[in-house]
Symmetry: C2
Subunit: 415 residues, 2 copies
Amino acid sequence: MDSQHLPRINGARLWQSLMDLGAIGATANGGVCRIALTDADRKGRDLVVQWFREAGLEVRVDEIGNVFARRHGTDPDAPAVATGSHIDTQPSGGKFDGNFGVLAGLEVMRTLNDLGIDTRAPLEVAFWTNEEGTRFTPVMMGSGVFAGVFAADHARARTDRDGVRVEAALEAIGYRGEHPAGEVPGGMYAAYFEAHIEQGPVLEAAGLPIGVVSGALGQQWYDVTVTGQDAHAGPTPLALRHDALLASARMIETVNRIARGEAPHGRGTVGYVEVRPNSRNVIPGRVDFTVDFRNLSQEGLDRMDAAMRGAFADIAEAAAVSVDIRQVVKFEPCLFAASCVDSVRRAAASLGLPHMDVVSGAGHDAVYLAQLAPTGMIFVPCKDGISHNELEDALPEHIEAGANVLLQAMLAHAR
Amino acid sequence: MDSQHLPRINGARLWQSLMDLGAIGATANGGVCRIALTDADRKGRDLVVQWFREAGLEVRVDEIGNVFARRHGTDPDAPAVATGSHIDTQPSGGKFDGNFGVLAGLEVMRTLNDLGIDTRAPLEVAFWTNEEGTRFTPVMMGSGVFAGVFAADHARARTDRDGVRVEAALEAIGYRGEHPAGEVPGGMYAAYFEAHIEQGPVLEAAGLPIGVVSGALGQQWYDVTVTGQDAHAGPTPLALRHDALLASARMIETVNRIARGEAPHGRGTVGYVEVRPNSRNVIPGRVDFTVDFRNLSQEGLDRMDAAMRGAFADIAEAAAVSVDIRQVVKFEPCLFAASCVDSVRRAAASLGLPHMDVVSGAGHDAVYLAQLAPTGMIFVPCKDGISHNELEDALPEHIEAGANVLLQAMLAHAR
């Protein structure tokens, strides 16, 4: 089909919906605070559900509060083609993270209604409960329960800092549904797509509106403790020190070096450091820091783990300190289904939108969905790569382009 | 004189005095909390003054609360030979830091009384107000006022965190004296000696009881701020990061490298680090840390300063961050008078005590006294080099040896 004649979403309507939803929980600095299962979340959910119903979609709520809106297809037995994301935000979040994926899905439905296009397979747009994990852990709770990674009972028993359980919070906002998590009318999705802002600087740096996401990096997180001996900075010659911070500095450099050796997908970050006693004229006797390793293959993560353990032991020995490494989090690498990745790439090409293959460095609901169904993601640039921040921003033309790619990709699987 | 016939101090009596003074402000963990100008300090001062009087010494208190106890000489016109240190402690301090120097001086007086030895020059033992600087800054306040480094009025107007002035605190404990600071009957001291625990590990590592202190390292302290850009650890490739912590880690290593290049006296320490936002999956956008450089010559300190500024600028440029360096403290290097250093060395040799030349890495009241009079210091080992800590400890035979060296050195100048 000539790209001139492809159906197009209404960019202005999508933008307005993003602004309207962003007004709920709006902060003074232009951001959004709409933490999962709060009253602000309820208001946001109610507005989106109202929009779903106005678009003629059939809404169901599952037992962990995930909300699904279905547009029926012509073949009642066909498994649905789905999209979705989340509408909860960080405490100092923005208008686009998650919200873009949900409202792009809504805009796909509205557009098909406007154009009178029927699909063979049903279409669904979902928003998943508590993706951010700010008030309740774990993160990506709703999609994790849907995928069977955690039991619904387990997730509903989690508590916030005030002892409030997820179950009670769901009931309080009216989103404790009855539908069993993971059960989809007509069977599991034929395909799942998620549009999302990139939350990184790659597309902006490349000057491209569309990222074709080939997979999500696996993650291994560690807590590290380096123990030396406090001592006075003045009277203690260098050779007699047990300087936990000097050793830690060398380890921080090593984390970066290991990640550089795993280009292009390796990431290594030390984000947290605590120094004791943290006094300017005392040689630090103890440093605690974190390591966050990411890579696209488990073999790559295994190499990073082994390289870190070897190098840290050598550094500790040379600095006359001890080191203890505890792995605290693991997410497996995720390669999205070739069929879905190809659909996204072809959709961008058919629309004449410049694009590149990228990987997701962060976790997304789509990573759990990929355990159940062929899955793909569409990234659009965000300003300065900033997200989880009130400064989060995106250009209307990129938002529109991403939703058009979503429309084409879903149609390719649903027609 | 045959070393068998040299006068000797009473080690058991000195040790008992250290334990008795250490009982005032004793902590549950075996340390001492006797912060300057508190009621505990008053009790400690009163006990030491009582001991001074019982030893027949003439006590005077100056306008900043320094206390002097004089044993008259046979030549009423001779300038005195003096010793001293401080009896205030850190909040979690020990029994020896400062206290040893004061009570070793008292023990010298008691020994000369016991042996009926008269000296030509008068002898004095002093304790200086607020050496530690815990409650009131600056540190080494009493000796600094005595040396004219700060005006007495300026020091007395300093306040603690509750707004209490030094003047009021001195009056409250009864040690607001009338004697003008810096005025010594008979003129400034002919020599000043201070015995002190090393507060470092050098003598213990060398297995020697006596350190002949040739001088004190100069100090230059800095506050450093490295500014990058917060970003998500996952979505941000290494090449697009502005990682303030990675740059800081390289700077910490550089501080150590610069100090290694100034062996044997160069010291470089980063003791304090604050990372922002300090979250495990966020690339740090800002790091504040401190640098403490020490060296025995100003030329050495100047080299360290220049090397740091050049290297930090290069590291910041390579890491795409900015760096700001502010010098916040400066103490000039101090070389003690050859006459006094030689007296300490000869005293140790005459007593058959193994010894080595060392430098003081920390500040001491003796450093200010050195601006007024020929000065020397005697170090004895402390356990594991630990001081400013409730674990601070020393061996009775080292305490005794140090006091015997002090006795010989003072006699060499006073006879």
